[in-house]
Amino acid sequence: MSAVLLGFAAFLLLSVAGGLIRVLRGPDAADRIMAVQLIGTSGVAVLLLLAAAGANPAIVDVALIMALLAAFAAVAFVKSASADGLGDPEEPDP
């Protein structure tokens, strides 16, 4: 069974490859950061499959950190893209 789980993990790496193509193409920075988000979610799924395939629960902790910090790059991006680079897109225009 663990070979099957590894096979699915390899399949999810193809999803990562698709994300890499979108990072390359853009065209906007928002597209690229969205693709990073997809790759992060795929990476979490890959790690969980590896944890089950290797029967190693410590790998779940790596997925836990990735999940906890999944939004950070995108948050930093939306902040840097806001009007003065320090705000948030939901603020009313000054």
Partner: protein
């Protein structure tokens, strides 16, 4: 193959399909908001199915709860990011930056 193996197989196959669909949408949809739509729903559903499929294999309850927490955190992150990026990509919000042609 035990019944649990079959269950896991069905769930992670379904999960992998949603990842595939989400990635396809990210690559093929014409504009940023459609791509965001494909991305933030499909792959989180896929991750949820994979988590549910793997749960009975993880042995102890603490690890199972951790896996569920992983999914909750990813969904929370995706919901936040989807809102923020959708807004920043509205006309007039995105600061102009040097653009390439998207190839």
């Amino acid at each position: 193959m035990t019944p649990i193996d079959l269950y896991t197989l069905a769930m992670i196959a379904a999960g992998a399909f949603f990842f595939f669909a989400g990635t396809l949408g990210l690559l093929r949809f014409p504009d940023l908001h459609s791509r965001l739509h494909a991305l933030t729903k499909a792959d989180n559903l896929g991750l949820g199915l994979i988590v549910l499929g793997l749960l009975p294999r993880m042995g102890d309850v603490a690890t199972m709860l951790k896996m569920l927490l992983v999914w909750v955190l990813v969904v929370g992150a995706a919901a936040t990011v989807a809102q923020l990026i959708a807004r920043i990509a509205l006309p007039g919000h995105l600061r102009s930056r040097p653009k390439d042609d998207g190839r």
